[in-house]
Amino acid sequence: MNDVAAVVIGPQPERLRSLVGDRVAEVVTAASLGDLREAASGVRSPRLWLLDSAATPCDGAFEALLAQAPDPLVSLPVDDLDEPVQPELGRFTESDLPGMLDAVGSRRVPLRHSYVISLLIRRDAVLEHDPPDPRRLGRYAGTEWTARVFARTPGMLIPASRVRVGSRARGSLHHALRMARAGVWMRGETVRELSRTVLPSR
């Protein structure tokens, strides 16, 4: 058995608990991202696999994350056709071209931030940061939190690790406006995310 505890975040965690329970040392649950630090403090495993309870890891997703240590490592969100789901992908550090090419050469993509859907991370890293704040930022709480975490320890997308996601609720306008003020998004992202909250989805 490995040294990873799965933290299933969100409502109805039982489905994922039974799905991943035999692959990790232990499984704990958190009602929302806001409870993440509390959930992390209750486990002994040094690494955590944070999982959105609505997502389904594909075969080999966990092993692909383990193979690419050090963390934080993020799975690729895909749809039923195994195509990447662009709005759920997070943002790459495109400004660092040498870093991007080095990472791609190792089958990784450096991330500036991402949603918390399937993320392998050190427990200490979770404990040393203020927790995500879903009450203030809603759907974007994970984005704001990972931006803080990845600023200290670069996060990597691992395309070989895939996690199936269904259609997710759009963010609300007031959460998006708060996010825009948080300074995580760049100008283009801000415009796109704000427009997503008010325009009908295509």
């Binding site: 690729l76 990472a103 791609v104 089958r107 993509v109 395309p159």
Partner: protein
Amino acid sequence: MGTTQATNVCAVVVTHNRRELLVQCLDRLQAQSRPPEGVLVIDNASTDGTAEMVEGRDGVELERLTENVGGAGGFRHGLEAAYRAGYDWMWLLDDDTFVEESCLDALLAGVERAPNRPSVMSSVVRWRDSSLHPMNGPWLRNRRGELATAADVRLAPIRAATFVSTMVHKDAVHRHGLPPGHYFVWVDDIAYTARILRHEYGYVVPDSVALHWTPRPYNTVTDTRGRFYFKVRNQLWLLRGDSFGGRERLQYARSWLRGIVTYVRRSPSRTDALRTVLRGVRDGLRREPE
């Protein structure tokens, strides 16, 4: 690497009065772990004994031009000759490009594992100190899903590439024709590959490495000589052409303006720099030669 030897590759090298650099360039090409089937040197009317040197080498073909038509004209000639000779891939290189031993092998291995059939494949281009060469940094495609999928097979999708270790497939030449030889120097490669890659696929292969042996790690803006005229003129032609559309065109126009401001600011004589820019704008607004 598992590349297929059935693929025919012709290395096309364009040169002008840089015999010593060309010798090293050809040495590297002929020492490839997977050598190209053909090596074609386009000599832009050199007067330093280049032609004699090339004629004395086995396995290298020479096409000697009667006048210097610039890098752009040379690549147009070379690509056309290699295409007509029936090669699958045309591997385009400046004479100061020193490819690493597995450069071509890695490019062809990249073709094999590409998620979509590629029309253009490019190496990572480094300067002498191994940093990315500022003139040839790969222009990554701004589609995150595509990048994630390609990264899974150690490739990154590109939107354009320079002729410093870039391969173009014969089918792309068939569909898109030849590069703009009348550009003389600079931006012809961007215009051509961006035109192809507007609707097709291309990738940079991180483990295929070429050194661009320029004296300094300059780019077409920080190289503040009068040749900047060609950049101003050619970029205007490019902007008026079909290589980019929509938002990309706007972004390119913005970078064109930024480049001009940087060039003028850094030039020792602003008057001369402005004159160069104005000449470029004037000619760039004129009708592009056929």
